[in-house]
Each structure stands twice: as C-alpha cells, then as structure tokens.
Symmetry: D2
Subunit: 338 residues, 4 copies
C-alpha cells in the first residue's frame, strides 16, 4: 500500500527501505533535501515540502512520523491543515503515551485518526524487522496491517511458544501487536525500554564484577579510614570478558539479543576504551518509573537502572560532596585523593 514518511534519520530511512523491499509505495520528506535524495535512491518518492507530501498521498492517507519526541507537535501542526477526515497519522517515534492520548483527541477534532507505534529493533531492524507495539482505533490499525506486517520480523526462526496452539491466532507471533486504545502502543514500548535498562544494567554490573575479580592482587594499605580486604586470595582471577560473554550465548539461562550485542562489543574492544561511560536515557526509562509510582507498584530494579545512568552523567556529584562534608564534620575524615 501507499504510505508517507516524515523523518529520515537512521530509523526512518531504514524503515522506508524495508517497506520498499516489501513492495510498498513510499512518499518521503525530511528537512534536508540531501537526506530525501538519499532515501529516494532506494525507490521512494522524495518530496520537497509537507504540502507536497500530503498532496501525493491518496486519501484516506497514511502518514508515518519518525521525528524526535520534541518535534512531534510542531510537525503535526504543519500537517493537520492539509489533512482530511479519516486520514491517519502514525507516530512511530519515542513519544510519551500521555501525549498520544492528548494528540488523539486533538486530531480527532478534524476527523483525523492517531495511531501510536512503539518501535523496537534499532539499527538492525532493516534486516531483522521491527517489533511493533501499536495503540489506537481498531479500524485504522486494520487498514495499516500490510505496513505493520512488512515492518515486523514475522515468525522467522524463533520457536513457537509452547501452548500458543491453544490460543486464538495473533499477530504477536509475527512481531507486531495492537495493544489497546490511544497511547497503548507507546505505553508498552515505554515499559519495554524500562526493562531494557534493567537488563542492560544487569549485564553491566555482572561483567563489572568479573572485571574486578582480580581486586585481591592490589595490596591495600592498612589505615583507619579503609578496611583491608579480608580475603585477597579469593579475588585473583583475570577473566577474559569477550570469551565469557561468548560462552553465555549458547545454552545459558542469560542468553539474549542484548548479550549477543555485548559479545560483539567486547570482541571488538575488550577494554571498551573508546567509551567514556556517560550513558544517555531517552525518556522511556523515566516515564516507566513515573508510571510505577503513579500505579503504586515498586520498580526497584528498573528505577535503579535509570538512576545508574543519571549517576554516570555526574548527577550525584553534589550528593557525594555532602557525604564527604558530613564525614568530615563528625569524624574529621579527610577525603581520599582520586
């Protein structure tokens, strides 16, 4: 089917390629003409303005937005005057589901439908397909089914879940799912990313413990400030992290796609010297914790993983200084030098 795409960054351009490969017709726009030209070269129709984009789409239109979360409202404002009743806007970026609920109401005043799609898969999606978590009205989701089916991974080589043969057929087995009304797609994607933070943090902490398993080789001095290591003989291991990540990929309980990627990173650079360790967070992890707080359910692990990212970016420096200041006050403890 025909679909428009605004936003041709890493994610957007790869999605267009995957759709074109599946035989869909894509009309594409981005602010930079060179970007449009690059994607047009894969077989898409490039246009020079939002007006032209809307014009080229046959009503009822389907227009997919793949822009930064902070740019969605502005982009919608530019599109809406040119849109008609029953046209569909799809937000496939990292929006907050709260905004989807609001935007669905706002565009509904023009009869326009709002579909929110949480998209997972990263730079590998072009080849592997994208896992799609979808929110919005039943009819629009049905209309877009050919698009979703092509973007999603399909069954692939993943074993069928035992017991599913007794359940009603579901697109979930093909890697896309209509999760519920407006916002449901981004809500599920939000929690997905929260979980992602937790899993990543679990690997990171575990491998860090292995990395420091030779801590007993460094002799600590005996002073009143620091307790000496009681059992240095237990921490004499120099582990080869690239090998350990690799061995866990087969047969272990902790095998996963994130582990596969970790093995790749460690194979290329066992010490990861090219990274500084300032870890960004793109919003969903924060929103997941806020959802847990609003619901009154604990999210210790996910929030801990989020805070670890804040700390990696020096969010706790003043708090640490306060601890040092308190210790100096009650015990005259001087800080150790770095």
């Amino acid at each position: 089917m025909q679909i428009g795409m605004i936003g041709l960054g890493r994610m957007g351009s790869n999605m267009v390629r995957r759709l074109i490969n599946a035989g869909h017709e894509c009309v594409v726009y981005a602010r930079t003409p060179a970007t449009v030209a690059k994607v047009a070269a894969y077989g898409a129709t490039g246009v020079a303005s939002i007006e032209e984009l809307v014009e080229r789409l046959t009503p009822p239109r389907a227009l997919w937005l793949m822009v930064p979360a902070g740019a969605v409202d502005e982009t919608v404002a530019q599109i809406l005057p040119h849109f008609s009743a029953n046209d569909i806007l799809i937000d496939g970026g990292n929006s907050y589901y709260v905004d989807d609920i609001r935007r669905a109401k706002e565009v509904a005043e023009s009869g326009v439908k709002w579909i929110d799609v949480g998209t997972s898969g990263g730079v590998f999606g072009l080849e592997r397909g994208y896992c799609l978590m979808i929110g919005g009205d039943e009819a629009s989701v049905k209309t877009l089914d050919p698009i979703f089916k092509s973007l999603a991974p399909g069954r692939g080589s993943v074993d069928r879940t035992p017991g599913r043969e007794r359940l009603p057929a579901s697109t979930a087995e093909d890697g896309y799912l209509h999760c519920g009304p407006s916002g449901a797609g981004h809500f599920v994607k939000m929690v997905h990313n929260g979980i992602e933070y937790g899993i990543m943090g679990a690997y990171a902490e575990g491998l860090n413990i292995l990395k420091h398993a030779n801590a007993g080789k460094t002799v600590d001095s005996t002073d009143a400030e620091t307790t000496p290591m009681r059992n240095p003989e237990l921490y004499q291991y120099d582990f080869a992290l690239p090998e350990i990540a690799e061995v866990w990929r087969r047969g272990s309980v902790v095998s996963s796609w994130l582990l596969d990627l970790t093995a790749t990173a460690l194979a290329a650079s066992p010490e990861l010297t090219e990274f500084g360790g300032r870890v960004s967070d793109s919003g969903e992890g924060r929103w997941t914790s806020i959802a847990a707080i609003d619901e009154g359910v604990p999210a210790d692990i996910l929030t801990t993983a989020l805070y670890a990212r804040f700390t990696s970016r020096e969010g706790s420096v003043f708090a640490d200084k306060l601890l040092s200041a308190m210790r100096f006050q009650f015990g005259g403890h001087e800080e150790k030098k770095a």
Copy 2:
C-alpha cells in the same frame, strides 16, 4: 570416554542421557537404587555403592558430582580414600567458588585434581545442551574436553558474533569455556546467576507495571492518609500480558531465552494463579552481591533483585512494622487494613 556420575536428580540424570547419546560410557550412582535403575535404563552402568563406582572406573578416573552444594564435602570424603593420584573430581553443581579453592587444595594432597564446572541450562539442557563454565588446571580440562564438548550446545543456530573471525579459536563458541584456575568456573556461574536474577526481576517489574496499567479504574477515596491519583485517565489500559510477552520475542531489544519462557508461562496461565510468589534463591545471587561488596564495586541492580526475593518470602515484615510504628508515633497515622 568413560565418566562416573554421582547424583542423578533432574540435572544429573539428563546430563548422563546427553553423554550416552553422544557415545560416552557412564557409570552412575545415587543413594536411591530405583533412581540408579531408571538412569541405567538409558544405557548407563548402574552401581550400588561409591566403592563399586570407583572400582568400575579406569584410572586416571573422571568422576562428576551433581549433588546439592551442602552435600559435596561429605561425598568427597567418601570418594577420596578410594581415589588415586591424577584421578579427577568434577563438581558440576551450585557450589560456592570459595569452596572450590579450598577443596582443590584438600584433594591435591592425594594428588587428585579438582575441576569446578558451573552448569547452566536447566531442564532444557538435555535437548539444548548445557552452557559450561570451567575452572581448574589446564591438563585436566583438556582431558575432559570430549565430555564438555558433548554436554555443551555446540554452535547450533546461533549467529556468529561479528568480529570473532579475527580472534583465536575458542570453545566459547561451542558453549563451554575454561575460565581460569580453581573456582573460576563457579565464580563465572555465580555472576551468571546474579545477572539472571537481575534480568528476571526486570521482566517481572515491567510486566507488573503493565498489569497495573488499569489502576485509574479504581476510585480512591480522598483522605488525609492517601494522596488521590492525580491522573486516573492515564491508567485505563487492560493489557493482554501473554500477547505482549509474545510480541517482544521477535525483533525487540529485550528478546531473550528468559522472555521465551515467560511467554510460555503466561500462555499457559495469564494470571499465574498457581503461584504464590515466594521466590527462592539458591546461593549464587547472594554470593554475587558479596563479591561485589568485597571488590568495592556497586551491584545495585543485582542486589536489588536478590532483596526482592527476600522480601517475597516476608523478610521485611518486621521492618515494615517499624515503619508503621514510627508513623503512628509522629503523626498518629493508623495503618490501612489489608
């Protein structure tokens, strides 16, 4: 090659079957004769005593222990008098690596070799193979290579890690690895399980947030004790968890074997009513946190996941009562009834 096996529980008996299927000769012993008989039926040689077991093995012997961590010392004490120099004892259970270091020294006095093997794979290992993390001396590990190779999964259908073609060949790609000297195998397995706790907890918390995404449907009363939900309209979703676990299995960043199993569990029982939620921990999670503390590296996520298990078994009840008691003291706050 020939190998003995003591301990024929779920793990031990399946490992024997996998070894027999691969053409090895297995001499097996367990305390219950019926258990021995059952495993002998797969083609193993069943024996009635540890003495007989040792006698049937050709020196230099290889004897694999698959007994509870608390029973290893006693079992070794029974074997050792009958063992000769260069015989090999393999501990494939969930032992603390600290004990491996001690035991390796103890048996070395008789010239016996001690190999520690962390074994991951659970009840699926028979079919999928077991991920093996191995510690001990180079020569013994080499001797046992045919056994390890048969127990391990082999390369299977898992894609090769990009970049490994530039690295020296390694058995890690076949799912087993000599990690280092005595204790190294169980050290790596310990951290593996610590990571496992963290990943499991991440999924559990995330799905719990989805489960309660309809919290806005329940109207809270307005009283001084409880803040009313500010935005009930944002928590009106009734998510189908079996479908969501399923859709994440393909193409998503959080796909993993633990997610596959979660999807299986939810497909069978969406509400998990057959579980009470008292979660055991088998030791490695505790030891991982202790290792982190000894090394002076943070393990917030892994330890949080461990503590969640303690809390699930009511380890915090008195602490909670103290909180209620404090609140009553300073604010006259009465507890809410369950």
Copy 3:
C-alpha cells in the same frame, strides 16, 4: 493577629490551640459542627459556614487551609467568591507544589495571594512547634510573620550551628523559612518527606537485621533449592531492640527525633505485634522521586524507601509470581510453601 482556619483535624486543631496560646485571634470552621465546638472551647471563634468565616475576618484577610490535598480545589472554589483583592489564602496541608503554582495563578486573577506552607511536626507540634517551609510573595509572607513565628518552635534548646554568627540573621533559626516563590514551601516539604522516608527506612532495615541476628539458631535443611547457611555460629544473637534503640539516643552518630520515637514505640511493644506492616505513603515521597527523575539526578535511597512501602502493601505480588513462573519454566523449581 487575626487568622481564619478551615479544617480542624489533628493538625489543624492543634495549630489553632498553639496560635491561641500565643495570643492570636482564630476564627475556625470545619464541616462537622461538633468539631468546631471542640476547638471553639480552646478560645477560638467557631462559625457555621465558609461565608460566615470570611465575613468575620477583617480585610486584608488571612485564611489558613488545613484540609486533605484532594479537597483543596473544592474548598478554594467555595472561598474565592467571597474574597477580595489582597486577601491571603494559606495552604498548610500536604499539597503538591505543582498545584500551588497553578493555584497561585488562579487566585491572582481575583487579586488574592496564595501562600504555600509545608508543615512538619506531627502530633507533637502543639508542644514542640511546627517547622514551617513557606512559598509565595515576599509581602504576604511578611504580613503573616507573627503567625509563622508563633507556630514555629523558636530557637529552643537546640545549639546554634557553628558559623551562623557570620551569616545574615534568618528566621530559619526559629524554625520557619521563606523558601522562595509559589510552590517553594511545598517543594521543600516534599523533599523533607522524601528524606523522612529514607531515614525511617534506614532505621527499619537496620533494626530488622538486628532482629534476625539469631537466624543461625534455626537449622536449614540441605536441598538443591536452598543454600545452607554457611556460618550459623555467627548469627546466634538475641538482641533487645528497645535497649539498642535507647542506647543510640545519646552520643551516637545516628541519634535523631525519629530514633527517639522508635525507642518510644519499642519500649511500649518490643515485637510491634499491634502493627501489620502495611505502610501508607501520603504523596510527597512519590513526588520527590518524580522531581529527581525530572531533574535527572539519582535518588536511589529515597525511591527505594518509597518502593518498600509499595511492596509492604503487596504491590509486587504479581511480579513475584512471574519470578516463580520463570524459575519453574527453566529449572522446574517448585515454590517453597509459606
């Protein structure tokens, strides 16, 4: 000076008594006439309606609200039609500072001033005085100074902070502070409560560890599910918690008012059997964590303390069931019975 008070619960009625004791004139209203009568008996002027309350106050009026957070908007809506420019509304309850920012704007349309006051002190405030954290415009705060001064504890027997003699004079030394513009008072009170949760949780966890310091006396069975306690001889202590809380009250680094109250609670009931351990949270703890997330700074301890309260009220039951379900899937592990 003259002041009105709406809301005569535990906090409101005690504040009126303290103000009357200090010579102020209080006009009081609550929905239940019997409550009004009880407070009038201390020397306040009781009224039967909000209209009457406003009428009795001399412009520019000062009217203090001490009602549940969920009832503030409704109460303000009833007052506002009767209020005039330059009248002052004071919210001394547990409101979210976000609402103060909004309400200050709303009442400003009628020329009314909005002052937000975070009030700490609990049921002891009548005698000890209330710590007041104040937000709003400079002029109104100045007008209300006699009220704040009387409600606050004053210097009392607390030692002067070394170094303050070099700083400009500040009401902070008398236990009340103008913290900043609208919302600043409740923002500081919010963080105060977040800290309160953390401190309370620290005591609760520590005393819980002491409570279980006899864990080595219980013999664990040796099975594959549970690691046996390695060192039961180290956990043979039966500590007298009321005595320990008491000894820490004098000279220790952890002495505090919350510890004093804990000692009181334990002196009355060492096992705290009258409490179930379902711990409420009144909003500020949640908002503190949300503020940390919005600011991008970690609040691991405060959020952990908040989540412990959610867990105490069974917010993690489904998550725990998921962990059990996963363990059963990969390892065939049965749950332990309670």
Copy 4:
C-alpha cells in the same frame, strides 16, 4: 579505676582525656613517642613499650585497644605473652564482630577476657561522650562499668523515652549497653554504621534534589537522544541550602545530629567546593549488607547507600562503558560528551 590504652589517634587520645577528666588513672602507649608525650600532658602515664604498659597495670588488668582494624591481631600477639588469666582486653575500634568471636576464643586459652566495644561519637565524643555498644562476658563488663560510665554521655539533656519508667533500669539510658556475648558490641555498632550510611545518603539525595530544582532554567536541545524536559516551569527554584538545612533542625520530623552537622558544613561552605565527593567506607557498611544477605533479610536502602559510595569512587566506570557499548551496538547511539 586504672586502665591502659594503646593507640592514641584522634579517638584514643580524646577518650583518655575524657577518662582522666572523670578521675581515672590512664597508662598510655603508642608507637610514636611524641604522641605519647602529648597525651601524657593531659595527665596520663606515658610508657615506651607494650611490656612497660603491661607492667604498670595492676592485675587483673584492663587494657583498651584503639588501633586500626587491620592492626588488632598483631597488637594482641604482642600483648598476650605478658598477660595473665583474668586480665581484660578491650577492642574499642572498628573491628568486624566475626573477628571478636575468634579472638575471644583465642585469648580465652590464656584465661584472658575479650570485650568488644563499638564506639560512636566521632570527634565530638570528648565533649558529648561516646555511645558504647558492648559485647563479652557479664563479669568483665561489670568490672569495667566505671570506665564505660565515664566514657558514655550520661542522661544529659535528652528527654526520657515515654514508657521507660515501666521497664527495668538500664545503662542504655546513660548511653552504654551490654548488648550480648562476644561480638555483640561490634555487631550492633556495625548495624549502627549501616544505618548511618542510609541516613547520610537520604539527606544527600534530598539536598541534591533541592540543589537541582533550577534545572528548568537550562534549555535542553531537542534531539533524538535526549527527551526534552516536559515541564521546565516547575523547576525554577534557587534554594538556599544552608537555610533549609537550618530550618529543619527545629521541630521537623527529619531533625537529627547528622542534620546539625550538615547545617554546619553548609553554613561554612554552601557549594562544598573543597570536597571532591570521593566517599570512603570503613567496613561496617559492607559487613552490614553481608549480614543482611546471610540472614536472608532485605537491606535495600543500606546497601544502596553503600554502593553509592563505591560509585562515588568510580567503581562503576567499566559498567557504564558497557552500557554505552550496548547502546552503540543496538541503536548506533553515540555518547554525549561531558
């Protein structure tokens, strides 16, 4: 009474002064003669060797050790040959209670008694008195009562705990307590320090949130990596932290001695620029978490506070690099520069 003291650092020398002020006879030794001379100037008898120290003490001797935890065994080994049955050794430093259990057994072979004393009070103890948590045999503790009474704060100006009038008389009200058999004193002190870490962390995090309450003033750019702040208008506060710490000292729920010290630190240096924020831990916090793990009770807050110190000393750098490496692998996400 007469008592010997080995170790004349900040803590030891102040304790001698407090004992001399109370009329006790102190014989003191340290490795550096100048240190001995300084303390002798307060009225103590300085000696030049451990042999001389033992000789000067009248049997049954009482000898107090105030040396680093790592130096206790060596010091005891020097003393023991000169000691007689019924002499008492007191360890008042930061030893692990596990060592007390062992040492009590070791010295018992010579008939010597071992008393472990957890000592809290820091540099203020000279004036305020030291909170003493004591372990060991009843008779020795009774013998030393005059010493403990003089070191402890006594009842002071602290209000009596309501309800204690109904309990048996206890030295806890004077600030010292015989907690149980060998190790009990350092066990309770260990947990005390664990709680101390938690309380300190709670203040640090809370004040850090206040410090960053102006985060909305910094405009974030809109890019795909970072979610823009949704509500900058809510984070426009420039709080005066020295004033806020001060106002909480009177009447608030979070008042404590650690808050008093924090107020002192902030009064001297609102930005704490003289501190780098690398926070040491002296052992007890680690041991508290290990005790919680051994007992199977959760200590989320205390362990989180411990890990925050590890992180402040860069214990998580490799873990953070791993997170960046994973994000680069799956999403091509580049790290933000510092």
